[in-house]
Amino acid sequence: MHTSIKKKQGTIGIPRGLLYYKYFPLWKTFFEKLDYRVVASEKTNAGTLKEGSRYAIDEICIPLKVYYGHVVNLIGKEIDYLFVPRYISTTFGTYMCPKFLGLPDLIRGTINNLPRIIEMEIDLRKKPIFYSMLETGRKLNGSFSQIKSAFEESVKTYQRFRIIMEAGFTFQEAFDSLAKNPAEVLERRPTGNPVKVAVVGHGYNVHDPFVNMGLIKKLEDMKVDAVVLENLPVQIFRQKTKISETLKNYWGNEEEILSGVDYLFKNNLVDGVIFLCSFCCGPDSLIDEIITRDAKTRDIPYICVVMDEHSGQVGVITRVEAFVDMILRRKRSRGIKEAG
């Protein structure tokens, strides 16, 4: 059954969608240490979305349609296994969106000719991640000691990845520099543009240039420093956010966005915040309102850019351009006032 490519135990395909943009370095190291080859699907392009839309139901969000597209792309790549984790909770006391909870079932139910699916249940409310990885490692013929060292190694890689991103790099830059010598000193990404803007949202919206129509690059072209959530200190995401005395957020991804925005606002770190939001994302629409109110009381420019598969580039660009211009003129007039 196992095709022996380079004497490995087999090839595991990881779709370049959803939490790929968060945990791929972790999973890649883990499976490679267990002696498997790891391939990711091709970068998102128009074909990905087209293929994905064919399988996914019409009303679902684009990130999921894109994920479907990536799964289809991997099927053509001679893989033995497809890694589709079931993310239930990734931080204590929170839940993921229901689509993550049912992800392996959704994929199995809609796409034919699938390779064997490795379904890892990640539920940090109930069990530490090590147990989830141990279970999966066993199914992949790993011995306890092998799994343990693969686990340690992958956590180390993940932590290094986070440190690199914290230094101000983009997802792709951080991922590419993982392969470099660890001794190499990390240079902080050069900043110093007149405007600094945070781009917050789910990793799969912020780090996938196809989905956000190259927003980060556009901002750079406009001489704007873009800060993403992963550029912020890791420890700020450890405290639970509080919306009000009575209201508590329990969405995992949104918890991160709220913590990040709260930190940015309280420490006055940016001139404005852009929230990239998927059309028809339930949790996002809830926290948009919360951030809007917070931004208003603190008098910090904020805009929510909604992306869907029909949005032309023009709409996004016009909004972002106007947003940046607004900040620039605001800063300039404040500067004049202070000087006068």
Partner: protein, 336 residues
């Protein structure tokens, strides 16, 4: 081509002095504004555009020739473009800057109406609200994908009822009965109108109802959750419609101001921003002159086969000459 000359004080302002040109090319109209060094409007023209932005701009320039002396082109020290086709037009005429409608509207309005707090702008295909304080934008919003309640919708309904859009205000003023039209969606609004017609309501009442529905829809969708402080300015082509203005006054309970330059406010802003830029950076304008209207431009398009994205690349080429603009790619390989 239907045109409206809003201002022409070029002759009285003398034959010297620097001028700045602003061009606003929208989905249904093209606006041209020329301001002097004191930011006063000396020439303003609105024309309905049919066809491509390139054609519209050229036609407008062609019409200008009749009203302008030859030397005006030489006195233009800076050119700014705005509107949905701002980059294309910038490339064609050799403008110095291309800015979004939001910034342009805000800059021009706060010059003509100092202290303005809210700008309602309803154009052909989109509508926006801009909130300001002390001449600075504090917040803005645009309609999302849906174009319900924009000028095009009114145009379409005017056609259907056989009433020129310019007469909408007069008709609505004669309305005696309140007729409620569902304004949430253009499609529903239309079927609701047909229904009301069949029930025997007069055209006057239906038009008044339609205008109120549009105003309501705009306030609920675009301005949702925003505090609209007065003074309020109302701009864009739809501001010509007195019935919509009245509907806003009724809904918001305060005076709605429509400045006499409301049609060209975006173009004026573009000219002002061009002036600001040229003066700040001591630029020499790259304006190609009004004779650009005689140059033949050919718009072309193709699908790039470089990757799976199959981007639609569009470009504009001079009949004899080089490519003036090219874009549409995600990767930047073709952008010029």
């Amino acid at each position: 081509m239907e045109t409206k000359l809003l201002e022409n004080r070029l002759k009285e302002s003398g034959s010297s002095g620097n001028l700045y040109l602003g061009i606003d090319v929208g989905s249904v109209s093209t606006k041209i504004a020329i301001i002097n060094e004191d930011r006063e409007l000396v020439f303003g023209m609105w024309s309905r555009s049919q066809g491509s932005p390139v054609q519209s701009t050229q036609e407008s320039f062609g019409n200008l020739g009749e009203s302008l002396d030859d030397d005006v082109g030489c006195r233009i020290m800076g050119v700014g473009t705005t509107g949905s086709a701002r980059y294309l037009v910038k490339a064609i005429v050799g403008a110095d800057i291309a800015k979004t409608e939001i910034i342009c509207q805000a800059v021009a309005t706060s010059f003509y109406m100092p202290g303005v707090r809210t700008i309602l702008e309803i154009g052909g295909q989109d509508n926006k609200v801009i909130l300001m304080k002390d001449g600075i934008i504090t917040d803005f919003a645009m309609n999302s994908i849906c174009a319900a309640g924009t000028g095009s919708f009114l145009d379409h309904q005017a056609n259907r009822l056989g009433i020129p859009i310019e007469k909408f205000g007069d008709y609505a003023a004669k309305s005696e009965v309140d007729v409620v039209i569902a304004g949430r969606c253009t499609v529903f609004a239309e079927s609701d109108m047909v229904h009301k017609q069949q029930m025997g309501h007069s055209k006057e009442d239906i038009i008044a109802g339609l205008c109120e529905a549009l105003a309501r829809n705009y306030l609920n969708n675009v301005c949702k959750g925003k505090k609209l402080n007065s003074p309020i300015a109302f701009q864009g082509g739809v501001a010509a419609n007195s019935a919509i203005r009245k509907a806003f006054q009724k809904e918001l309970g305060c005076e709605i101001n429509v400045h006499k330059y409301f049609l060209v406010m975006g173009a004026v802003g573009a000219a002002m921003l061009a002036r600001e830029q040229v003066r700040a950076e001591n630029l020499k304008t790259s304006f190609r002159g009004f004779k650009v209207s005689e140059t033949k431009f050919i718009p072309k398009a193709f699908n790039c086969q470089g990757c799976n994205n199959r981007c639609e690349i569009t470009y504009v080429q001079e009949l004899v000459g080089e490519i003036v603009a090219r874009w549409g790619d995600r990767c930047g390989k073709w952008t010029l």
